[in-house]
């Protein structure tokens, strides 16, 4: 959460009048709310916007990056090794404050020109995804990097980590849009969508939008109940089983 707070401060500073030059970034989402029903198989959200009040001499010199981050969580990345003929988990690396969904797209591969540490402060790029804010000792970092890369691979397979360096398309010199693919496996929660405006690999503007993803329907409610009121859920499961078991017994006895 501290990282998000730091980002909000960064963005707020950028938005201060006089901090940026004349141009202004305006962006929004095609939808601010997604309902996860039992038949949800994934969807797409469009981020669109424009750069207003561009001085003629600056036209066409801008780049856009879009970053979407799901609710943060701590995950364990485990590696299996053969022990006495059996494949078992032998090593674990925990990655803290990792967004459960991560999407980054840009209008051109410009951000590779920026240093990783600068991009890390904006969370731009899968190569900085999951990295801690403060660097740690190099001996540790090689192992961490190996596990972090494995995590990116696994999450990419599920569509939970997406990087598209041409994902933001300009129409003309000011209008832009990007498609965010939301896979079927997303978690519920509040998703942070940030649009960055760049000029010469420098962030000169940013705008934030929130996307809410909710579970609906009986399955969604049961999941929420199971985690928030586990005792009530457990008693319900027990009650359900007793009703079915005794009900079957009653029906079969009368036959």
């Amino acid at each position: 959460m501290t990282r998000i707070a730091a980002q909000i401060i960064c963005i707020a500073l950028l938005l201060l009048p006089g901090a940026a030059s004349a141009q202004r970034l305006v962006a929004d989402l095609s939808d601010h709310h997604i309902s996860l029903t039992s038949s949800f198989t994934g969807t797409e959200i469009i981020v669109f916007g424009t750069i207003e009040d561009v001085p003629a001499r600056d036209a066409g010199s801008f780049d856009i990056a879009v970053v979407v981050q799901g609710p943060p969580e701590t995950i364990a990345v485990r590696r299996k090794e053969r022990v006495a003929g059996i494949w078992m988990n032998t090593q674990t690396v925990e990655i803290e404050d990792l967004p459960s969904f991560y999407y980054v797209a840009s209008s051109s591969p410009f951000y590779e020109l920026m240093s990783a540490s600068r991009r890390n402060s904006y969370d731009i790029g899968t190569d900085v995804l999951g990295l801690p804010d403060t660097p740690f000792d190099p001996a540790q970092s090689q192992r961490f990097e190996q596990f972090r890369a494995a995590m990116i691979g696994l999450r990419s397979e599920d569509g939970l980590v997406v990087e598209d360096q041409q994902g933001v398309r300009f129409r003309g010199e000011q209008l832009f849009r990007a498609r965010i693919p939301i896979p079927a496996t997303v978690q519920e929660g509040t998703y942070n969508v940030t649009v960055y405006l760049f000029q010469d690999e420098m962030v000169i503007g940013a705008q934030n939008a929130l996307l809410t993803i909710d579970k609906v329907g009986i399955e969604g409610r049961l999941n929420t109940l199971a985690h928030d009121y586990p005792l009530i859920y457990g008693l319900m499961a027990l009650f359900m089983a007793l009703i079915v078991g005794l009900g079957a017994n009653f029906i079969l006895r009368s036959n």
Binding site: E73, I75, M236, A237, G245
Partner: protein, 305 residues
């Protein structure tokens, strides 16, 4: 027709679940066994996380044992005092089992331990059953009868804390039934089985209970232990999938009926040999999963603090 399983967090065809419930129900009706030790591996093969398969299976066994215990109760074939002692052991065992389950889950080893326990138990039971049923088939064809030697269980009668069990017509120490209940409780929480396959032979050969009260009494213990395990798993691990359990149950209550009818018409030695082969097949399938190199050695898991 897909249904989203809220705890397993995946979509599965409803008909597949009902068919699985029906199939395992049919087998358990035909062979007169609880289906837990077949259903849990089957769920794992379907892609349900092992931890969810185990806890959900405990939930399902509540229903099947509730249906069974009612019938035995009416026939006065339940020794409630013996059931109570077994239950006390079961509650202690399952509490420890749940704690162990949670600890292994935090270590990232629960899936391995579940599979390993199944390989060991299915291998041992399937192997013993196969040897026993083949022996019975052979001796029958020879026309000889294989006499069972009475076991040397005198040590059971030398233990302290003696209690009188009227319905079983026994005066024995409470320690063996407590220990049996304890072991079965651990198995219920870690493997998602009722444990009848251990408890019933132990009650007959170790405690020397009359066979007419054995099934009812073990079902009585299984009902309360699995009920306790279901609630504990829900609270400690949040791994009970009610929707999954429901559709499996719908299939199994029907399947059991057909299984009982078919089983009554078949010869028991052949039936047991068939079941033994099935158990060994499941065992080998699980064992292969443990020894073959995974396509990706890395996996992601939740962190519990």
């Amino acid at each position: 027709m897909q249904v989203y399983l809220p705890i397993a967090e995946l979509s599965v065809n409803i008909l597949l679940l009902v068919a699985m419930g029906g199939g395992v129900g049919f087998l358990s009706g035909m062979f007169g066994v609880g289906g837990g030790f077949l259903m849990t591996p089957l769920l794992i093969f379907t892609g349900i996380p092992p931890a969810v398969a185990v806890a959900t299976e405990a939930n399902q066994i509540v229903a099947s044992s509730a249906a069974g215990v009612g019938a035995h109760w009416r026939r006065k074939a339940v020794d409630f005092k013996m059931g109570g002692v077994l239950l006390v052991g079961g509650l202690i065992g399952s509490s420890i089992g749940i704690w162990l389950f949670r600890y292994l889950r935090e270590l990232g080893q629960i899936d391995l331990i579940i599979s390993l326990s199944y390989v060991v138990f299915l291998g041992a039971i399937g192997g013993l059953m196969l040897i026993e049923s083949l022996g019975a088939m052979r001796s029958k064809s020879k026309g000889a009868t294989l006499g069972r030697r009475p076991g040397q269980h005198n040590w059971v009668h030398g233990l302290p804390l003696k209690m009188r069990f009227h319905r079983s017509r026994l005066y024995i120490s409470a320690i063996p039934p407590l220990a049996i209940g304890f072991l079965v409780g651990i198995l219920a929480s870690i493997m998602g089985v009722g444990g009848g396959f251990i408890m019933v032979p132990a009650m007959i050969y170790l405690l020397r209970m009359p066979t007419n009260v054995v099934i009812g009494t073990s079902l009585f213990q299984i009902l309360f232990v699995t009920a306790f395990v279901t609630v504990l798993h829900a609270v400690a691990n949040q791994t009970v999938d009610m929707v999954l359990a429901f559709f499996l149950l719908i299939g199994s209550v029907v399947g059991v009926q057909f299984g009982v009818r078919v089983g009554a018409r078949l010869r028991s030695e052949q039936l047991r040999a068939l079941l033994a082969l099935l158990v060994l097949f499941v065992c080998i399938r699980l064992a292969l999963g443990l020894v073959t190199e995974p396509t990706n050695p890395f996996s992601l898991g939740a962190v519990f603090h």
